[in-house]
């Protein structure tokens, strides 16, 4: 269904780019050309060559292998973040939007309060409380992103609540839960899907910035942001390290953004 649209170039290019990076990540989970953490003093700072397509770093580790694994970690963290944020956000948004009233007011003001904090700062507070590690990053970012989904879903539910088809479902005696999740929910997809996609992008960037700042994943885990901060010190000795890591992030973000753009155009 997604590929049916003939004239949606954004969507197509986006899917291709994302597929390339996804493939890299998925393959990275089961197979990498070298062990991403194996050091080799004889092969330090190798520029891209046949045996190391993306070169090696200061410890002689193969950068392609590291990029593959790092992309996998970044992907995993971002997906989980989107999942947590969207799951809670959708439930909160659906309940508040559908029922309205003072609970809606209260939860939305709480939402405003959370939104007023930059999400990185909020995540930082979480990390300080919970400690480092990728699961804590997921939790911190997931919570920080809840309001963005809740807000979108809430406004959709508030809009659909007054529509005739909802009234007629209610008149047929359908329960609130059924109306919310069977009747209204599918109608919010054109808005929810692009939001999920943008949310994924934000999660990638947030994870990268957190790891770059040293509050994200910790070794032996490796993520794109972590590698970026590592490569910075060897910018002159091994510029390809930074270049290829950065390029992977750019490709991922660009691909997913294009998908988001394409979905939005489709949704009208």
């Amino acid at each position: 269904m997604l590929l049916h649209q003939k004239e949606n170039r954004y969507l197509r290019i986006g899917i291709v780019l994302t597929a390339i990076v996804t493939l890299l990540a998925v393959v990275g989970y089961v197979w990498t050309p070298y062990d991403p953490t194996a050091m080799n003093a004889a092969a330090k700072y190798l520029p891209p060559c046949l045996s190391h397509p993306l070169g090696t770093d200061n410890f002689g580790r193969d950068i392609l292998s590291r990029v593959m694994q790092g992309t996998g970690t970044t992907f995993f963290i971002s997906l989980c973040t989107v999942f947590i944020g969207a799951l809670v956000g959708v439930i909160v948004g659906a309940l508040t939007g559908y029922f309205g009233g003072w609970i809606d007011e209260a939860i939305m003001r709480l939402n405003d309060a959370v939104t007023a904090f930059p999400s990185i700062l909020l995540a930082l507070v979480f990390i300080t409380l919970l400690g480092f590690g990728k699961y804590n990053v997921i939790l911190a970012l997931g919570v920080a992103f809840i309001p963005s989904y809740a807000r979108v879903i809430r406004s959709e539910f508030a809009r659909h609540r007054e529509m005739n088809y909802v009234k007629s479902a209610r008149l047929m005696g359908a329960s609130h839960g059924r109306i919310m999740f069977r009747h209204i929910m599918p109608n919010t997809l054109p808005v929810l899907l692009p939001t999920l996609v943008i949310g994924f992008n934000n999660a990638v960037l947030a994870e990268a910035s957190m790891s770059y700042l040293g509050i994200g994943v910790k070794p032996p885990d490796v993520s794109l942001g972590y590698m970026l901060s590592e490569s910075q010190s060897y910018m002159s000795a091994a510029p390809w390290y930074m270049l290829f890591t950065g390029m992977t992030i750019v490709l991922l973000i660009l691909g997913v953004s294009l998908i988001g753009e394409g979905l939005q155009q489709r949704g009208g």
């Binding site: 005739n164 088809y165 209610r170 008149l171 047929m172 005696g173 359908a174 009747h183 109608n187």
Partner: protein, 262 residues
Amino acid sequence: MLEIRDLHVQFRDSDHECVRGINLTVGDGEIVGLVGESGSGKTVTAMMVSGLLKSDRVITHGDIILDGCQLLSAGDETLQKIQGRDICVVFQEPMSAMNPVMRIGPQVEECLRVHTDLSKAERRERALQALRDVELNNVEEIYRKYPHELSGGMLQRVMIAAAILPNPKLLLADEPTTALDVTIQAQILELLKRLNRERGMSVLFISHNLNVVRKLCTRVAVMEKGQIVEDGATDQVFYHPQAPYTQKLIAAIPTRSKRRGE
């Protein structure tokens, strides 16, 4: 059957009553028309009967009795049993009354799913039968379609099919033909008449179109500014209107002779 006694309705955020003490009865198997201009309170009356307006939005006074059951003071559970089984509603705009992303079949079956424990196949069979009852062809195909794939007239038939499926005692039709063109309108009216005859289902038909009401209804109530100014047999009301408002309304019906005179 349905009895409305001295009903007053006022929205909580407004300072005047939009329904000011109306009395109306719909007998068994009767088709009663409720006419009046926009804002005369006819839709609010219908919404009160169907239970769409709850006490969190309106202040009410008076009684609505369906077969001896007090609707205004009934609890949510009783109401949920009555809504969608004893009272069913057909809306004005069929396009907006259908869920755009749900297939026709499940939407028609909705009330069966809520009120009965029929199996999936039985529900489907009943829904297909209801679609046939409203004179639709290729029901199997329609069952699988989405609302945007059907025309307005077909959708209105689908709405009626959904409404008659649980065999309600009362069908509430809120301007069901206003959004349709004249030929389709006539067909829908015939359909309602036939269903009323065959099933003995009472109909409360709300409209501002006097010609439609005259063709369909056995009795007519005329509403003006929240009050019923005239109530009687259709012929009585049309040929010997008593209230000045009714006289004005009837004088405003365009006729052939008048058009020629212009």
